[in-house]
Amino acid sequence: MEAALKAIAEPRRRAILSLVRDGELSAGEIASHFEVTRPAVSQHLNVLKEAGLVSERRNGTRRLYRARPEGLIELRDFLEGFWDARLEALKREAEKEERKQHGRSH
């Protein structure tokens, strides 16, 4: 999960993910959308692939990339968990404080 979070924290990688959301593209086609070198794009693609956010398919000599929706769903669940965990802690701490202030014990 941490790998996926790191992967999308980089704006260029989010742009790449958007490009391959609806269909497969080769690294060269992806690179043509950006003013960065082809190796840099390949590196971004590797990070996305290792994070489970894109899949890679060989077609002859070409490698084609496409977004993996399942990877994004995992991230969405993580986001929910992030605030859920904090609100749980808020509830616990506020209730502890309330008992302290009012001398009640539950």
């Binding site: 980089e10 704006p11 968990g81 808020l90 506020a94």
Partner: protein
């Protein structure tokens, strides 16, 4: 869905067995904010236009501004990460609404992402979805949930 709902990233209503006055302090008192946010330090100036810093473990700083401060009913503040392109300060908003419920509080907590104008300029669906995920990226990277694995020592 209306435009406001579409930009909502996270929304929960929870019941807390503590008065709104008690819960309110957990949003504005630095030592109490630290008890639930899982952070190493906090500075808050809880008045409209006031700034807050939350020092999250690993040196990430959440930085924002209080927008509405209506003690102990409603608090709105911007949310973002200092120096993070994914979710810079001011790019999202958190709203907390506290309503008395018996002897306790009903807390409605909403985290919204980009402004409706920004959201509109995005393509439908997927791009918007990615924008929402930026919050997860900024909030969870690299600390995930520091509270769980590394409780604040203060």
């Amino acid at each position: 869905m209306d435009a406001v709902t579409e930009t909502t990233v996270y929304e929960r209503t929870i019941s807390i067995d503590a008065t709104p006055e008690t819960v309110w302090e957990f949003f504005v008192d630095p030592s109490k904010v630290m008890r639930w946010m899982g952070i190493g330090g906090a500075e808050l100036d809880a008045q409209p236009g006031g700034i807050y810093h939350l020092d999250v473990i690993s040196g990430n700083t959440a930085l924002g501004e209080f927008v509405e401060v209506d003690k102990p009913h409603r608090l709105v503040f911007t949310w973002g990460w200092d120096g993070n392109d994914a979710l810079p300060p001011g790019s999202s908003t958190v709203e907390a609404e506290l309503t008395p419920q018996g002897n306790g509080t009903s807390l409605r907590f909403v985290h919204r992402d980009l402004s409706p104008e920004q959201a509109k300029s995005h393509a439908q669906g997927w791009d918007h979805y990615l924008a929402r995920l930026e919050i997860a990226a900024a909030g969870g990277d690299p600390g995930e949930d520091p509270w769980k694995t590394n409780p604040p020592s203060m």
